[in-house]
């Protein structure tokens, strides 16, 4: 049996350079996406999911949220309640 010399064709060299190049590019891309994810998470932006909306649980507590009446509520049966002090009927008996 005659052993033929294994000569690498030029085409194979070019193809290998392309494949190695693509591998490096893909690995670099994965590293970039991973790094970006780490930075975005550790930066602590008040973001949730992919919709970039503030997460309610991360928002600072508002002492007087809008729409909520903070006026003192008169206890039922007291003179103040009978006179109709603001907020007397709110939140009670509903």
């Amino acid at each position: 049996m005659v052993m033929l010399p294994q000569v690498e064709h030029e085409l194979h060299k070019r193809r290998r350079s392309r494949n190695i190049g693509l591998l490096v590019v893909l690995l670099a891309f994965v590293a970039l996406v991973f790094g970006l994810s780490v930075v975005k998470i550790t930066q602590g932006d008040m973001m949730q999911g992919y919709d970039h909306r503030p997460r309610a649980s991360m928002l600072p507590k508002d002492p007087a949220p809008p729409g909520q009446n903070t006026a003192p509520v008169a206890a039922p049966g007291t003179p103040a309640a009978q006179q109709g002090v603001a907020g007397a009927s709110q939140g009670l008996g509903q």
């Binding site: 064709h9 085409l11 970006l36 930075v39």
Partner: protein
């Protein structure tokens, strides 16, 4: 081996591309200017950016610039083959097919815009998308072959990167970023017209309506000087904004004085004089123009470290 040779012969130009050929499609030399100006725009912006996010943003801006370069090479393969300066590019040389250049250009355009949006913000990403469209469609397809003002309009695409870098940090446009745009925009025509003065045969053969071909060389010399005069005030004005300072101002004054002097020398010469000394003045002016933009942006960067006004 027979099957390999058959495959080789079936390809456009009978050649299988290596990785470097695809990199060459992205015009790495043009990309270096894009990277540098975008980096400076991002760095000197008033809002600080996380270094890794900034690195990614500049990388994706460069990738977008490369994508528009690939689209340009896809469309311009016929005229690139005629011009000596561009005949060795991958598509006209037959190393990469024009369909591959188109596919790579479109794929990288989408990828770069999407990734810039996720890394920085969607305003900057939209700006990048517009820049790619402007260079590939407005300049390359619509105007390059139809008007002698092609270089002026094409210059806008090259002037957007510092604005995109600024937008990555701030999410908006500012006076400073507009002035950086003006600096590159008004610098581009005299830079390319000086090149066209001593590379005249290339553009004539390709049928590209360069100013030297359509309006003559005397008019081109006058245009170079006029643009040099228009450019100087914008370069100096940048020195009085929030990103400027004494160091930048000193660099800008010296460079613009040299640039105006060079433009004046070009204006005063005629073709006989230019041919007699092998376009020495024009070549010197072209070399100076290469340093002009680089040094302006470098001065902005150094000024930022030293401390602006």
């Amino acid at each position: 081996m027979a099957d390999i040779n058959a495959y080789e012969g079936s390809r456009e130009g009978g050649f299988e591309a290596g990785f470097g050929d695809y990199v060459a499609l992205l015009k790495p030399r043009v990309m270096s200017l894009v990277v540098f100006t975008a980096l400076v725009g991002l760095w000197i912006a008033p809002q600080p950016v996380n270094p890794f996010v900034g690195f990614c943003a500049v990388l994706f801006i460069a990738l977008g610039g490369g994508a528009s370069g690939a689209l340009n090479m896809w469309y311009d393969a016929d005229i690139d083959a005629v011009m000596k300066r561009t005949a060795g590019r991958p598509v006209p040389a037959g190393r990469v097919s024009s369909q591959e250049a188109l596919a790579l250009g479109i794929a990288l355009s989408g990828l770069s815009v999407m990734m810039l949006g996720l890394a920085a913000n969607w305003f900057a990403a939209g700006f990048l998308a517009f820049t790619i469209f402007f260079y590939a469609v407005v300049y390359t397809i619509w105007l390059k072959r139809s008007t002698p003002q092609n270089i002026v309009i094409g210059g806008a695409a090259g002037a957007f990167p510092p604005m995109i870098g600024w937008a990555c940090a701030t999410g908006s446009i500012g006076l400073e970023s507009l002035l950086m745009f003006a600096l590159v925009f008004f610098w581009t025509p005299p830079h390319f017209w000086a090149l066209a003065l001593f590379m005249k045969d290339d553009y004539s053969k390709a049928g590209v309506p360069m100013l030297t071909v359509t309006h003559g060389r005397k008019a081109t010399r006058a245009h170079i000087f006029a643009y040099t005069l228009v450019l100087a005030p914008f370069a100096i004005w940048l020195g009085f904004t929030s990103v400027g300072g004494p160091l930048y101002l000193a660099v800008a004054v010296v460079l613009n004085a040299l640039f105006i002097a060079g433009g004046w020398r070009i204006l005063r010469r005629n073709e006989e004089q230019a041919q007699a000394d092998g376009y020495l003045v024009e070549k010197r002016y072209f070399r100076l123009s290469l340093y002009y933009t680089f040094l302006h942006f470098l001065a902005l960067l150094v000024q930022h470290w030293v401390g602006a006004w």
